[in-house]
């Protein structure tokens, strides 16, 4: 079995365990390459179906083509799309000029927390392909996330099934044991679990898999004649493109094997503060 096969098998196993054990399960889909690979793996695990809602946190500042791509794929693949947003912060005029960490905290971390625990508004795509506000949203107890151990330091300590307390906090120092593919599937009321099927994948693995499976990821990752492309995508004001003529996954893999620049270098919030990611993460950011 090739390494990609092994990674795929493990991810599929985790997906099926999660689906079996959690009645209120959802998956975060950021529209980026990792969570789109995650979405593809879900379809592998469930034979073409995605039997739980996909949650997207819309800061309202996302690159517009991300939203078009999201809704197009949702309709084509029959996905249950749920979109959350921190409307209050946006109404009060939140944007990145108030400080990137402040903006990310409000429009991503807070929005995510409120969307997951059901205290914030959720827009759900109906049979008609349009979004309608969900009535009485219930908290999700299992949240599938596309985090990879190799992304940055704090993620390497993660478990496949990682508990979060009532405040969505992650206790890095005291994590449950996890072995023999027996996962933590019992949890106290009010707490929830983050589930990480991509934990063992590297950035290169992701591209190799996109290439092998011909996954239709968003084309922002490829150069469309300007000599620039995105390596990591997010909000328009805070995501920079990189100089790269890569137009295919294969060209990206070749480029990655030669690079020394970290994946998230184009993401402004990471530069703000050395512990930015760990801080965001402890507070519930995916």
């Amino acid at each position: 079995m090739s390494q990609l096969d092994q990674l795929e098998e493990q991810s599929v196993y985790i997906f099926r365990e999660a689906f079996r054990h959690f009645d209120d399960l959802c998956m975060l889909w950021s529209i980026g390459k990792d969570s789109t690979v995650l979405l593809w793996l879900a379809r592998k695990a469930f034979f073409g179906h995605v039997p739980f809602p996909l949650v997207h946190i819309d800061t309202s500042y996302k690159i517009p083509s991300m939203i078009e791509y999201r809704d197009h794929l949702a309709r084509e693949w029959g996905l249950t799309m749920v979109v959350g947003q921190n409307r209050q912060a946006l109404a009060e005029g939140m944007n990145h000029t108030r400080g990137r960490m402040t903006c990310c905290g409000a429009l991503k971390t807070d929005a995510l927390r409120q969307t997951l625990d059901g205290t914030g508004p959720r827009m759900r795509m109906g049979q008609d392909g349009e979004y309608h506000e969900e009535e009485n949203p219930a908290p999700y107890t299992g949240v599938i996330v596309g985090a990879r151990a190799d992304e940055e330091g704090s993620r390497s300590k993660e478990r496949y099934f990682s508990p979060r307390n009532e405040h969505s906090d992650w206790d890095v120092a005291d994590q449950p044991p996890e072995f023999w593919n027996q996962f933590k599937t019992d949890f106290a009321p009010g707490t929830h679990l983050r589930i990480h099927p991509l934990l063992d994948w590297t950035e290169v693995n992701i591209w190799e898999y996109i290439e092998r499976e011909q996954i239709p990821i968003i084309d922002l990752y490829f150069d469309k004649g300007t000599g620039k492309r995105y390596r990591s995508i997010g909000c328009e004001p805070c995501t920079g493109s990189i100089e790269s003529p890569a137009t295919t996954p294969r060209e990206i893999i070749t480029e990655l094997r030669a690079t020394n620049i970290p994946e998230r270098a184009g993401r402004a919030q990471d530069q703000e503060d050395t512990y930015a990611m760990e801080k965001l993460r402890r507070e519930g950011y995916m």
């Binding site: 079995m1 090739s2 390494q3 096969d5 092994q6 098998e9 599929v12 196993y13 099926r16 365990e17 689906f19 079996r20 379809r43 592998k44 695990a45 469930f46 034979f47 073409g48 179906h49 039997p51 029959g78 151990a149 190799d150 992304e151 940055e152 330091g153 390497s156 300590k157 478990r159 994590q175 449950p176 044991p177 996890e178 072995f179 023999w180 027996q182 933590k184 019992d186 949890f187 106290a188 950035e203 499976e213 690079t259 020394n260 620049i261 970290p262 994946e263 270098a265």
Partner: protein, 596 residues
Amino acid sequence: MARETMNVVIVGHVDHGKSTLVGRLLADTGVLGEGKLEKVIETCKRQGKVFEYAFLLDALEEEQGQGITIDAARVFFRTPLRDYIIIDAPGHIEFLKNMVTGAARAEAAILLVDAKEGVQENSRRHGYLLSMLGIRQVVVAVNKIDLVDYDRATFWSIVDEYRDFLGGIGIEPRHFVPVSARGGDMVAERSTALKWFDGPTVLEALDGLGKKPQAENQPLRMPVQDVYKFNERGDDRRIIAGRVEAGALRAGDRVLFSPSNKSSTIRSIEVFNASPPESVTAGQSAGVTLTEQVFVSRGEIMSHLERVPSVSTKFRANVFWLGRNPMKKGARYKLKLTTAETHVAIDQIHRILDASELDARIDKDRIDRHDVADVVFRTRQPVAFDPADDLEATGRFVIVDGYDIAGGGIVRELIEDEQAETRELSRQRNLSWVRGDVSPGERAELTGHPATMVLFTGAAGVGKHVVARALELALFRAGHNAYLLDGQNVRASAGSGMDSVDDDVDEAMRRVGEVAHILLDAGVLVVSTTNVIRQHDHRALAAQIAPFPMLVVHLGEDEGPEDVDVKLPPHPDAETAEAQVLAALRERNRVRTGGA
């Protein structure tokens, strides 16, 4: 061709030089730049700090700039042969659960012993855990050999002591290597100071290890992970999903599910976005459809008809305990073995290896944190498994205390419980059963309910019979194919020829069970009573009628059997009793929807 990758864990008592050895491996394979390791060690020494893993990672990060993403739990190095991933496994006992988490992912281990301190308590505990985790490829590095002046006798005496101990727990190390991680002796390079040693260096020893052989030639084991019927976008497939843990399966194979004893044939192998493979082998996740639609559920193990797994409510096991609260005799826990989950309790403690002494003790009635114990477990429901020595993946389990995984263990041997014989007889009977062309599903569609047995238990004279008669009538009038199976009728019919029921209670029970089984096979909702005195009587009946389910209703002041579904007082009011039993049946989806 893609290069091979091997996960290696380095375990050893704190201060025995784990970080230095990792550092040395990285330095000598060119991951860390020349002189970098020495510099960091020197800095630590100057600042009066113990050289730790963290400093090594800092050094790595500095070295690679911001470019490489540092994964604190896993570092990589390579030899010309293959790539290695070193999984961090903390040596401190407080982090034993992290050590287990890390080590369980490894294919090979380096056990580290300090030449000066010799075999310590933790050296033995780590050996035990590796053995239980199933890691058989072990290299022992006797580190800090420079501190005992590269003394040959010291090395060999440690080898003798440790080899004896490890041998006793089933680990035969491939190599013992005298090492000075700090000086670099015998890690990647040979050493003039250790000229007396003609074995391999640590790197050579690692390269000499093989990848774990695939479990393809073993008997088929596919624990059922879930059964899917999505019924959307025009998909009405009923897919049995699971990972093949051993052996291989093909379309057309006859298969048996344990413990339910149901059998069927694989119609197809289902996959998404690819053409279905001819076979699925160990390590692969699969989805299959069956020709005959049998009702199977998560936790059962699919095998071929030959070389089937063991089934019992009792087994002997070795268990290690990580929970803050001790595992107590008499308390109930959750057992997770393959995909099965059931309640479990300690039946018997053979011996305990004490955490602090690591002496064998038997005078304890609990398993404390970090203890390793040899015990007999009893589960509430029968489970399918294999002894870990035969098949690893279906022979290991974890124990959940409250919300947390608090222990793990491996099955040593099957212990036959009281139902073993009955179970085997009914398995044989089910396999040779000739079926008509009407499927159980079609029968259920006609009657509006699946076949179930309701058994009333309790001492003589508590009013079981009155309630049973009332229930049959109520069920029937609500449109069910219900039938009262009275023991008296069995004695007068299938029981004829027996001299006296009192002489052979077991045989009389067996005949009741066989008649009940035929009725159930015909799709009937069977209502029956029995004067159960011994707890295992109704369990024997349950084993006999399996895979049909049994609802146990107990009448009386006493507690009744442990796994009773409905408890009623003696001589209950018929209407209340009926309502309670119906509610229990409804909850289990055993009655007509809307009706009753």
